[in-house]
């Protein structure tokens, strides 16, 4: 079972995405903060991280930097409402696999995760 980690400070989103992917046979972990996300990343070593950009405290870009400090390879998909090019560029430099803007199209989220889970994503 492919492991996914969701890092988002909105409980509703964590719950929904967890439920959504569990129904599609993924093992899903959720974190409401950057620190919790990094802890789960070390412990569970998920294949894919769905990372929210705009979070209270340490934001998604900072979190991505910290992830890269000890894991160069994990697939990170940025999910965010912030549609600005600066964070998109930063995320790309830090090796984010993709950038999905909220409000998102559900099947795109599903397809993106699926392609990286199968290893057919454009990594």
């Amino acid at each position: 079972m492919t492991k996914i980690l969701i890092v988002d400070d909105e409980m509703d989103i964590c719950d929904f995405v967890k439920h959504f992917f569990e129904e599609r046979n993924y093992r899903v972990f959720t974190a409401l903060s950057s620190a919790e996300g990094l802890r789960l990343l070390r412990r569970e070593k998920p294949r894919i991280v769905l990372l929210d950009v705009k979070m209270a405290g340490t934001d998604g870009i900072e979190t991505l930097k910290k992830i890269r400090d000890f894991d160069k390879d994990v697939t990170v998909i940025m999910v965010t409402a912030v549609d600005d090019h600066l964070s998109m560029e930063q995320a790309e430099k830090l090796g984010a696999a993709r950038y999905i803007t909220k409000p998102l199209v559900l099947e795109e989220l599903e397809a993106a995760v699926l392609s990286y889970a199968k290893g057919t994503g454009d990594e």
Binding site: E10, M11, D12, I13, D15, F16, K18, H19, A81, K102, P103, L104, V105, L106, E107, E110
Partner: protein, 455 residues
């Protein structure tokens, strides 16, 4: 269960008869009017079940429509609808997506349901290539049930109907894609929200908590609710954009209006400047007029004006514009005027009106200027109008104009004291002046609002 202590009082007295139901609805409507956006679902507290009788539905719909009109903000209306459906029918989850022009997509703007099933607000969108949207937008009526909704069950059944599938090209694919979308949204039923011919939203409903099928009646109810809601949402949006437009116009108007008033003031100052004896006359008359206006604005004649104070303000500023056409020699003459000279002076209201007539924005102001030298008893000029034949604004200017003339130095006499001038107004009431205007003037004077800065 939600806690609404105030409502309980009413709901506990709710009875099965329609009067009781109506009472509840009316209470809700009243409640809503002072707390717009009270996001309370329409429901009787102690009625566990949705009203079963057909007439209850009808009554409910009538009342729902009535109160929908009350919502000025679409979001509040949508919340109310979602809450109502959720609480009354016990559905796993509900979601409303509305078309947003700036995103050219349908955005999820409200949802309900248990954690994990509830789709977070603002999280998802449907674009025009979404088959659900396509079907509703393009009105592929053979796919929707007779009520105009898409149900998972019916679509699945349709996949077995080889005859229909053969009739339309790519139908199988479209149905399969649609079913997949409904699975993504965990939707049992999807309803379109139309306004006029346009799809403005999509309502997504999950399964009944009781696992029962939705009845035809319930589906019909959703559709009616959706239609009314779409109308109300569009109206609310329309009102919003109208309000925005009004604000815009107001801004523009304020700017233009300021320019306009300043132009009038500049013109008035130019007139005043020609006549050293009447220096500041226009400014003072305008101030007196406005003080009198405060006393008179409640009378029917004042209220008959579209904008009484503004008309008076501009007319007062421009009342002597016609003096432009009077030779300096006559205007500044020391000593008494000859009859001929006086005849010339008497032309100034008509000259003023002639000068100002081409300015369309002035409207009625022109006739006020033309008649500001008429007398209440009909012995004035230019037309000898009397009493209510003379417009109110002109009558006010006449009295204020006279008061300032009496209290100002003139080439041919020294100014008189205010008390003397007031007495002349009193004496002239019903003759030269409108008695109502005179009493308003006296009232304003007593309040200290008439103030001649030359004294």
């Amino acid at each position: 269960m939600r806690k609404e202590p105030v409502m309980n009082k009413y709901f506990n007295s709710y009875s099965e008869d329609h009067k009781g139901w109506l009472k509840v609805q009316n209470w809700f409507i009243d409640k809503l009017s002072d707390t717009e956006g009270a996001l309370i679902p329409i429901r009787p507290e102690n009625a566990q079940k949705w009203p079963k009788a057909e007439k209850d539905y009808q009554l409910f719909m009538e009342n729902a429509s009535r109160l929908m009109i009350r919502f000025k903000k679409p979001e509040h209306l949508i919340k109310m609808i979602v809450n109502t459906i959720d609480e009354q029918l016990g559905i796993t989850h509900t979601a409303v997506l509305l078309y947003k022009e700036d995103k050219n997509a349908f955005i999820l703007i409200d949802s309900k349901g248990e954690g994990g099933v509830k789709i977070p607000v603002g999280f998802v969108r449907m674009t025009f290539d979404n088959p659900l949207v396509k079907i509703f937008d393009k009105r592929k009526n053979y796919l929707v049930s007779e009520n105009g909704v898409l149900t998972y069950e019916e679509l699945t059944a349709l996949l077995q109907n080889k005859e229909t599938l053969a009739k339309h090209e790519d139908l199988t694919e479209l149905i399969e894609l649609t079913l997949r979308q409904m699975e993504l949204f965990k939707a049992n039923i999807c309803l379109p929200l139309y306004y006029k011919k346009n799809l403005i939203g999509v309502l997504v409903l999950g399964d009944k908590l009781s696992k029962e099928k939705f009845t035809r009646q319930e589906i019909g109810f959703f559709m009616t609710l959706a239609n009314d809601a779409a109308m109300a949402i569009s109206n609310a949006q329309l009102i919003q954009s109208l309000q925005d437009r009004i604000e815009e116009i107001k801004d523009l108007y304020t700017k233009e209006h300021r320019v306009f008033i300043h132009t009038a003031i500049a013109l008035a100052t130019a007139i005043d400047a020609r006549d050293p004896y009447t220096h500041g006359h226009t400014e003072r008359v305008t101030a007196y007029c406005m003080a009198v206006a405060d006393e008179l604005e409640g009378i029917p004649e004042a209220q008959a004006y579209r904008n009484f104070k503004e008309t008076l303000h501009i007319a007062a500023l421009l009342h002597d514009v016609g003096k432009i056409g009077i030779p300096d020699l006559i205007l500044n003459k020391k000593g008494k005027l000859t009859k001929k000279e006086f005849e010339k002076i008497k032309e100034h209201p008509v000259i003023g009106a002639a000068i100002l007539t081409p300015i369309r924005e002035l409207g009625d102001v022109v006739k006020e200027i033309k008649y500001h030298q008429e007398r209440y008893d009909g012995k004035g000029y230019p037309e000898g109008l009397k009493e209510s034949q003379i417009p109110l604004v002109a009558r006010i200017i006449a009295a204020c104009d006279a008061f300032d003339a009496i209290t100002s130095d003139r080439p041919y006499r020294q100014r008189k004291m205010a008390e003397v001038a007031l007495q002349e107004l009193r004496d002239g009431a019903g003759k030269q002046f409108d008695p109502i205007v005179v009493s308003a003037f006296l009232l304003a004077f007593e309040k200290g609002k008439i103030w001649n800065n030359k004294k």
